[in-house]
C-alpha cells in the first residue's frame, strides 16, 4: 500500500521504517530536513521536504495516489488541517490523525476523522500498569 506520513519525529520515523520493512511504499514529509536523520539507513522509502498543510507540497508527495495518510507533527492543529485536506480534497481512503488534546480529539472523531490521542491512551496505560501492581 502507498502510505504518506506527515512529520518525521520519533513516532513518524519509526512508523515509516516499520511499514517500509513490511513492504509498503512509504513517503515521509517534513518541513525540517534535519528530522530525516531519524530514519534508519536501511529505509527504502522516500523522504521529502515540504509543508504538509500546503496542497502543492502534498501533491508532490503523491497524496493523490496514497491509500493511507497519517499526520504526526507536533501540532494538533496542523495535523487536523492536513488530515481534513487529505480526506475532503484528495479523498484519501484512510486518514489517521494524531491529536494530543483529548477534547479536540473527541470533537474531530465526532466529525468523522479517524483520530488517536496519545495523551488519553498513555494515561490509561499508566493507570492500568500502576493499579495492576497494587
Amino acid at each position: 500500500m502507498k502510505v504518506l506520513i506527515m512529520g518525521c519525529g520519533r513516532v513518524g520515523a519509526r512508523l515509516a521504517s516499520l511499514l517500509d520493512e513490511d513492504g509498503h511504499e512509504v513517503t515521509v514529509l517534513d518541513n525540517d530536513v534535519y528530522s530525516f536523520r531519524r530514519l534508519p539507513s536501511t529505509f527504502g522509502g522516500s523522504a521529502l521536504f515540504g509543508n504538509g498543510i500546503d496542497e502543492e507540497a502534498l501533491k508532490k508527495a503523491g497524496i493523490e495516489e496514497a491509500d493511507i495518510f497519517v499526520a504526526l507533527t507536533q501540532g494538533d492543529n496542523r495535523n487536523v488541517m492536513s488530515c481534513q485536506m487529505a480526506k475532503h480534497i484528495f479523498n484519501v481512503p484512510r486518514v489517521m490523525c494524531r491529536i494530543y488534546d483529548p477534547l479536540r480529539e473527541e470533537m474531530y472523531a465526532a466529525l468523522g476523522l479517524e483520530t488517536i490521542s496519545p495523551t488519553k491512551i498513555f494515561a490509561q496505560l499508566l493507570r492500568e500498569k500502576l493499579e495492576a501492581e497494587e
Binding site: G75, M81, M85, I89, L103, R104, M107, L111
Partner: protein, 220 residues
C-alpha cells in the same frame, strides 16, 4: 453582539478596538501573557489569556452565547481549528477566519468556516491597483454570489478605443455599470456608448468570465 476574537497580533488588536468602538461586547483570546497584559492595561478586561483553539478555553469565556468568532492569528491551521471548535462544539452562528495562504479559501469553506479573508490577496490587489499597466483590479468580491466588482482600464493603444459596447463581444455574465472618463463626470454606459482612451470601467462580472471581460475590453 457578543464577538470573540482569537489572536492578539496587530490585526486582532485593531479589530478589538474597532468593534469596541462600535459598541459591541468583545473578548480577545491570546496565549501570550505579555500581549494580554498590554491590552488589559490599555483597554480594561477585554482580553482573556488562553488558547482559542481549545474547547475548554472557549467554554470558559461563554462561547455558547457568542454571535460571532473571528480568528486572526498568523497561522491558518490555528484559525481553522478555532472556527471549527466554535462552530461544532459551541454552535457559534458565524465564524470568520483570516487566511495567509489564498489556496485555503476553498478548503475552509468545505470545512464549514463561514467567511475567509485572505490578507495576502488583499495586499496583492492593493499593490496591483497601483501598478499603472495593470488592466483589471478587483474592487469587491461577493463570494456568496460568485461575483466580483472590477475596475478595468482602457489603454490608449487598446483596439477597443472608439468601438461601442455592442461592437465588443462582452461575456453576457458581465455588466458594465459605470464609465469614469479621464476628464468629466462618470456616466452609465448603454449599447451605443463608445470607449475612449483612459476610460475607467466599473463592471460586475462572475469570477469565471473575468478573463473574457478583460480580453474583450483590452481588444486584440
Amino acid at each position: 453582539m457578543y464577538i470573540i476574537i482569537v489572536g492578539g497580533g496587530r490585526l486582532g488588536y485593531n479589530l478589538l478596538k474597532a468593534l469596541l468602538n462600535e459598541g459591541h461586547e468583545v473578548l480577545l483570546l491570546e496565549k501570550d501573557p505579555r500581549i494580554c497584559k498590554t491590552i488589559t492595561d490599555e483597554m480594561g478586561s477585554v482580553c482573556y489569556r488562553g488558547d482559542g483553539c481549545e474547547a475548554a478555553t472557549l467554554a470558559e469565556v461563554g462561547t455558547g452565547r457568542a454571535d460571532m468568532l473571528v480568528a486572526v492569528t498568523g497561522d491558518d491551521e490555528d484559525n481553522l481549528v478555532a472556527c471549527q471548535v466554535a462552530k461544532h462544539k459551541h454552535n457559534v452562528p458565524r465564524t470568520i477566519s483570516r487566511i495567509r495562504n489564498p489556496q485555503n479559501a476553498e478548503l475552509f469553506k468545505i470545512l464549514g468556516v463561514d467567511v475567509t479573508v485572505s490578507t495576502t490577496d488583499l495586499i496583492l490587489e492593493a499593490i496591483e491597483r497601483e501598478v499603472p499597466t495593470h488592466p483589471l483590479t478587483h474592487l469587491l468580491k461577493i463570494d456568496e454570489k460568485n461575483l466580483a466588482i472590477v475596475d478595468v482600464k482602457i489603454f490608449p493603444e487598446s483596439t477597443s478605443v472608439g468601438k461601442t459596447v455592442k461592437e465588443l463581444s462582452l461575456p453576457k455574465e458581465s455588466q458594465l455599470a459605470l464609465i469614469i472618463p479621464a476628464e468629466g463626470n462618470p456616466y452609465v454606459p448603454n449599447a451605443s456608448t463608445a470607449f475612449k482612451a483612459n476610460d475607467q470601467i466599473i463592471a460586475v462580472t462572475t469570477l469565471e468570465t473575468e478573463e473574457a471581460l478583460k480580453t474583450a475590453l483590452k481588444g486584440m
